[in-house]
Symmetry: C2
Subunit: 267 residues, 2 copies
């Protein structure tokens, strides 16, 4: 069974897509058969990976909409060890279209089950919202990664996020747990980031040993440093490993992948 990880944060522009794409690529390079599922109608992960959302015959939209959908046909191999279930703008309509469906929060779970034996890791790129698409992601995930910036206003959204994770854990998915926070666009040397990180670490430490969904969560290491290469490669439809393999961004996502696999950092 694969490890299903939801990259979620209702706040926009925090690094969800950049992390989904480059962490998935890093895992693939470590030999993990990895599937990226793009759940954002903006289709940024799809674009980032060099797939044209306008050219798709089937996408995550069709898979979620149709209970017997052929997820197998919608998934495409895009790199060695890396597959994508792409998004398209129709996904924006899904909330309306599934309003009355009894199992509307479980559509993705059922679809993933069909292909789970083909993958070691499934990464779900969530939109910046706590709506139907994110709920489907949380319902099908084992773990939650929270990409965020170590900024003051970023902290404001965390409690609402954990509230939603808790709700899903209670009602839809008892196995859901928060793996931790991925610090994105990180500037280690600033007082602000040090204070925010200290805040987060203290928050997780005090949850340790309790019953909450984040009782085993931590601030993940390493933080992902601000690196313009990470902002450039989407425009070429490339991952950081193709665009700038020796850049700080490539190093950080490799080390993050190793950390998730329980391995030591690269040399």
């Amino acid at each position: 069974a694969p490890r299903v990880i939801a990259l979620m944060n209702q706040k926009g522009g925090v690094g969800k897509t950049t992390t989904t794409v480059n962490l998935a690529a890093a895992l693939a390079r470590q030999g993990q058969r990895t599937l990226v599922i793009d759940l954002d109608p903006q289709a940024h992960a799809t674009l980032h990976l060099g797939v044209d959302p306008a050219s798709l015959e089937t996408s995550a939209y069709d898979v979620i909409l149709s209970p017997d959908a052929e997820i197998t046909g919608a998934i495409r191999k895009i790199r060695e060890n890396l597959w994508v279930l792409p998004a398209e703008t129709d996904l924006a309509a899904i909330e309306n279209e599934l309003q009355t469906a009894q199992d509307r929060n479980q559509r993705l779970t059922n679809a993933i089950k069909v292909v789970s034996n083909r993958f070691d890791a499934v990464l779900l790129d969530c939109p910046p919202a706590l709506g139907l698409l994110t709920l489907n992601a949380l319902a099908s995930a084992d773990e939650v990664l929270i990409p965020m910036q170590a900024h003051f206003l970023a902290l404001q959204g965390v409690s609402k996020l954990l509230e939603t994770v808790t709700l899903v854990r209670q009602s839809l998915n008892n196995d859901l747990s928060v793996l931790g926070v991925v610090l994105c666009m990180h500037e280690k040397q600033t007082t602000l980031s040090q204070e925010v990180v200290a805040d987060l670490e203290e928050f997780f430490a005090s949850a340790s040993g309790t019953e909450v969904a984040w009782s085993n969560a931590r601030v993940l290491s390493p933080p992902i440093r601000r690196n313009i290469k990470l902002a450039e490669c989407p425009s070429f439809g490339q991952t950081i490993f193709e665009y700038a393999p020796t850049a700080a961004g490539a190093q950080d996502y490799t080390d993050l992948a190793l950390s998730l696999l329980g391995k030591a950092k690269a040399e």
Copy 2:
């Protein structure tokens, strides 16, 4: 009549709040009687200005909800020449509560009319969405400012944004026009930002002389440089001018304000 400016972008984390607060403060320091209206249920502009959203008796929520609402009572003076109509989390419910109201897109326009003679500038901080709150902002605005980062994925959202502005212009507010783009968190020396800026400038240049809402729009000057001080001051409930008056962020927002007032840059 005041100049009513909507700071909008459906993309999250692009600098709307930072720009609304610090541009308003800069205008106030230039002698402009300035009102900030926080239209985001996250209430970040409210927090940024040192107002506790949880302590409010009346807020933007009450004003929009009640046609005869006492906007006068909800507005508070917070600095010399600077007032705020604060937000609170109840604002999240407003879309549902006004679903069937005929004039639901015009609530804010009517409220602003009540106080317009007291102000020279009214700045509207929009949430990262194109829903009811943003529509109210566009219906009551004269001009639209689009804060954004000069990144590839940031360009993807611009056409949808302009589509919405066009719709409002046609159906609700014929005087609505796009003033331009405010480049936030700008890194001038990178190839990426130079290419994105060139793209934007070409796009606006080709619209010049046409009938579209952005026919007089431009990339505003100066860009707002990435400056950690701008991310720190919200945690103290301060504007950049109180927190770090000699920082790059203070200089850039002052120059932006001067540019909006048609004046030359500061020395």
